[in-house]
Amino acid sequence: MQAQSPIVKTKPLIAKKFALYLPLIKSLQTSLLLLTGVAGYLSAHTKVNWLDFWQMIPSLFLAIAGSTILNMWWDQDIDAKMKRTHKRPTSAGQVTREEVLNLGIAVSVIGIGWALLVNWLYGIVVFAGLFFDVVVYSMWLKRRTCWSIVWGGISGAMPILAGRVLAVGQIDAIGLLLASAILFWIPTHTLTFSLKFSEDYSNAGVPTFPSTYGEAATRFAIAFSSVVAALTMGLAAVWIGVTAGVLRLFIVLSAGLFFLAATTVFRPSDRVNFSLFKYASMYMLFAMLLIIP
């Protein structure tokens, strides 16, 4: 009986650690980015190489999760100052910084290494996403300029490009268009949050668009970027060669987005602004599904 006790104690410890580590990867955001990678791959409409495909999913997942964990490690002090994030395991002191750093490095190395083994160009694009996110966006620019979100957007655009690259074997124009759509969609997310939690960001000393250029300019930037994201995605869809029916669906969904974007500019309110953010997120999810068939 005594010999069994360490195992009995280990199980809850693993489960406990897993429960603590899970929020570090922002599972919803990571899943959405992973979906863009899958959509990027399937948008090629080539014969699916299932070995590549099934290796892409875990490698991309690990790379995205790794960069998210490293961001959490780097931004621990900022997260602790913000109401929205102060309960994260890193800022709440439930996991040590060293532990988070080690985990982030391990997960990232496995993800990037696996990606490079699958296909070197795919691996480089995946690595670029991690590098832009962790080093350029978080470590270098986030605390210096509100324009850092552009680099956050570029890193967020890498999974869809990576998926496309793995399918077609090169960086092509459609892949760049799809990446541009994600690049322009990400500001609707980050700028909406910077509007909603402007006090939080201000307390943490993070420069944001609202604190630098004001709320009206930020709302315009959100509307503008969501419209450009929709147009770019539509153009990519045409180029991919979606059916007339799917194109009609794109036009309808885009019209809804334009309507909300215009409302955000001409009849601004927090509610409309948040609705645009939610609609843009749904739009992007549907767009990913529509470019697959």
Partner: protein, 201 residues
């Protein structure tokens, strides 16, 4: 009034059906009918998504009266274009003029009953067209029996449109709560009838 999970599911299903109809269900039609039905089902799809995001409060916006006329007007236009070739130009003119009249009477403050009259005429004509035309062409043998479902959907959307419009004009026929509570299921039922009618008829 908070929107329940069940209502969110109903609205999602409504949007899904509308998306199906736009992407697949109208492929074999002529371009004007496709345009008309794309607008109609597009409004249903976007309205469903906005209701999921914003909740029932979105129905309180003044623009709802204008938007709610688009669905019956464009569906009836599509039906006339397909089945009443001799009335195409007349009905297209009616669609454009009545839609502009609705926009004008809702945009300019008026003390008289003109806005209500315009709404009643628009919904009345469009609603009757959607209700009667599919039933008539079905009984004439031009279309299969399930096409009559479009007519039943037309009756429902006519009722919904009038209830919403009278609510917005401050002269409600039934209470706001009743309209809101039953809106998602009515919306789904209407869309399902349209989609079934167009696809199986």
């Amino acid at each position: 009034m908070k929107i329940s999970s069940l209502n969110r599911i109903l609205l999602f299903l409504t949007g899904f059906l509308a998306a199906y109809q736009i992407a697949i269900g109208i492929d074999s039609m002529d371009s004007t009918s496709i345009t008309a039905y794309t607008i109609a089902f597009g409004v249903i799809l976007v309205a469903g998504l906005l209701l999921i995001i914003l909740g029932f409060e979105v129905l309180d916006l003044p623009i709802v009266v204008i938007i709610s006329t688009i669905i019956p007007l464009t569906i009836s236009l599509g039906l006339v274009w397909q089945h009443l070739a001799s009335f195409r130009t007349v009905y297209l003119a009616f669609t454009i003029v009545s839609f502009l009249a609705v926009i004008l009477t809702r945009s300019i403050p008026m003390q008289n009953n003109l806005p209500v009259i315009v709404i009643a005429i628009t919904h009345g004509v469009a609603g009757l067209t959607i209700f009667l035309l599919p039933i008539i062409v079905t009984f004439q043998g031009q279309m299969k029996l399930p096409f009559a479902l479009v007519g039943i959907g037309g009756a429902l959307i006519g009722i919904e449109g009038l209830l919403l419009s009278y609510l917005k004009t401050g002269k409600p026929i039934v209470s706001r709560d009743t309209v809101m509570k039953n809106f998602p299921i009515m919306f789904l039922l209407t869309t399902a009838l349209f989609v079934a009618g167009f696809n199986f008829g």
